[in-house]
Subunit: 351 residues, 2 copies
DNA sequence: TTGTAAGCGTTATCAC
DNA sequence: GTGATAACGCTTACAA
């Protein structure tokens, strides 16, 4: 083996063809007819030489980097306890791998939105982008639309043309809170999963309010607290709620991760779940089946969210207009034991 | 704004210099003296034109992709519940960002080790690699050493020249189990965090055995079960343990994530923690402070592991030989309530 | 201190 | 069907 890099030139020489032919064969360019024997020779030569095309050269010449970017809009350390993220990563990598794409991951802080991920794009580092946790105040987002850059939101910005994959956070939160109301609760606190600039956080809060309104319960801002992604914030905000003088018999929390912080705070106060305080979460992270008590929560189809967004992005990259570029996936209220059961529900189960 | 891409040529023309000068200025090439006014002109022109160099062209010409790869050796879905991973990601991104590097993440299945990540390297897609969860049977690993590719293990392979950042899993497991023994336990079960081909899993099991031996307790293979990363496996293996006829009063589990599966299984059997069964985990994921009972576990300095590995890799990339390329970070046994306290300990607390 | 020119390893456009 | 040849946009000796 010589010392220099094996190039397509080497393959071409060994196969007795030109570099063009090597490229055509290796990339399986459609609409080009290569004789079977030539094709074989090229393929053999390539594998004998253990040839791997250089990514940068391919990218430069073809104008495609074969990399997609997963961008998370977060502050430092806010992903450290994000149980949802690993599920997304898992689904994303699995989906894009067959197409030979690679996944680049980056966190951009809300303050630096504009500079940061537009650079990735302008540098043509990535061919397409999946943006998790879009915010209302993200002005870089509209630039994406303007330049018509292939992008899919994991989440959504209302009334925009962006491709997105999301759930109906509002309806899901509504049904979760309605469940609590049906159980007889009327003093229901709420801890958001994140600041309201994150669309998902606002939508879940809105769903909470809707459920109250629809059931004739007056909204009380004293019952609201704002979390920010990490479990600590659930813990702190629950303590804040408990330390205030408001009465409540249940709490709806915008993410399971935060819910477990809240659960700890509730226990520290010597209160029982669900007898003293019922709790409902959101996400249905894998742990929630196993917690004590098992957590009633809204199941987000994490794997599907990841897969669908990757699929849509692939279509965008291929230049196909996807049949549906704005998709809402189903959620499901998973009733477990953290909010007990109303007498009527219990009776139904026994039937 | 014209339709074509802004190139360094455009910047050069606007600034009235050559592309060379533009490159020298923008890359801050050391040891080259550029007059301040020229430098200013170039900088101004670049920002006026909103110039962003094209990554592929840079990579091709400079032979550096400015991307580092984080490779996880796992089977599909085994990262979905990995609470440790998000902490690593967080630390990694934070550390490499200032250097302008990007992070590419990929999962490679143990069966496909060889093909997969060597390709990333041969394609020069990445300049360096951080490999999480090395296995004893990874034959691609030695190829890395042979070609002298910049690589850092998150974990370690005994007796190899690889740069690595790790903890002393054996000693940490030993101290955790010794703690249990000091509490009076002698029938201590063990559930590994992963198959023993993963070095960390074997080391933790070895530490467990050492602790037994050092304290005159006979090793009983009936007390051992093998997990595989996900919470479900902790749950299943604990049930398996409980369903067998072995007696035990404590269980040591190779990862907190699995420990919570085990905790659920223990409760399903109507047993109490720690009164009936004491449990000790490993990792100290953020949740473990908040669980009920709070989990006694070994704290892994996740952020530091990530940071140090990124730092070492940076030095390797810069061509500097790092002062220490094999580093062992401190762990700490965090005693909480999941294994109760021995009578003597309790007395000490009261003093 | 700055410019000229030669790559870097592909893909893509045309001829043949 | 296959092969020259010209991009692609940048870095980097080397020269001036």
């Amino acid at each position: 083996m010589t010392n220099h890099r094996v190039t397509s030139q080497d393959v071409a020489e060994r196969a007795g063809v030109s570099r063009t032919t090597v490229s055509l064969v290796l990339n399986n360019v459609p609409g080009v007819k290569i004789s079977p024997q030539t094709r074989r020779r090229v393929l053999d030569a390539a594998s004998e030489l253990n040839y791997v095309p250089e990514a940068a050269a391919q990218a430069l010449a073809s104008r495609r980097a074969r990399i997609i970017g997963l961008i998370l809009i977060r502050n430092p350390h806010q992903i450290a306890t994000d149980a949802f993220l690993t599920q997304i990563l898992d689904g994303l990598i699995e989906t894009i791998r067959p197409s030979g794409m690679r996944l680049l991951i980056d966190i951009v802080e809300p303050q630096h939105q504009k500079e940061t991920y537009l650079q990735l794009i302008q540098a043509k580092h990535i061919d397409g982008i999946i943006l998790s946790g879009p915010r209302y105040d993200d002005d870089a987002l509209s630039s994406l639309l303007e330049v018509n850059f292939p992008a899919v939101l994991l989440g959504q910005i209302p009334d925009s043309d962006f491709a997105f994959v999301d759930v109906d956070n509002r309806a899901a939160a509504n049904s979760a809170v309605a469940h609590l109301i049906n159980l007889g609760h009327s003093r229901i606190a709420c801890i958001t999963n994140a600041p309201l600039s994150y669309t998902a956080a606002l939508d879940r809060l809105t769903g909470y309010k809707q459920a109250l309104t629809e059931n004739g319960i007056t909204f009380d801002s004293e019952l609201i607290r704002y979390g920010d992604f990490v479990i600590e914030s659930g813990y702190r905000q629950m303590h804040s709620l408990l330390a205030s003088n408001v009465t409540m018999s249940a709490v709806f929390i915008g993410s399971d991760t935060l819910a477990y912080g809240a659960v700890a705070a509730i226990r520290e106060r010597g209160l029982r779940i669900p007898q003293d305080i019922a709790v409902v979460g959101f996400d249905d992270i894998p742990f929630s089946r196993y917690s004590d008590p098992p957590l009633t929560t809204v199941r987000l189809p994490a794997g599907d969210l990841a897969r669908r967004s990757a699929e849509i992005l692939s279509q965008l990259l291929a230049g196909d207009e996807p049949e549906s570029k704005q998709v809402i996936l189903e959620t499901q209220l998973v009733v477990r034991d953290s909010c007990g059961a109303s007498r009527s529900n219990r009776r139904m189960k026994l039937q």
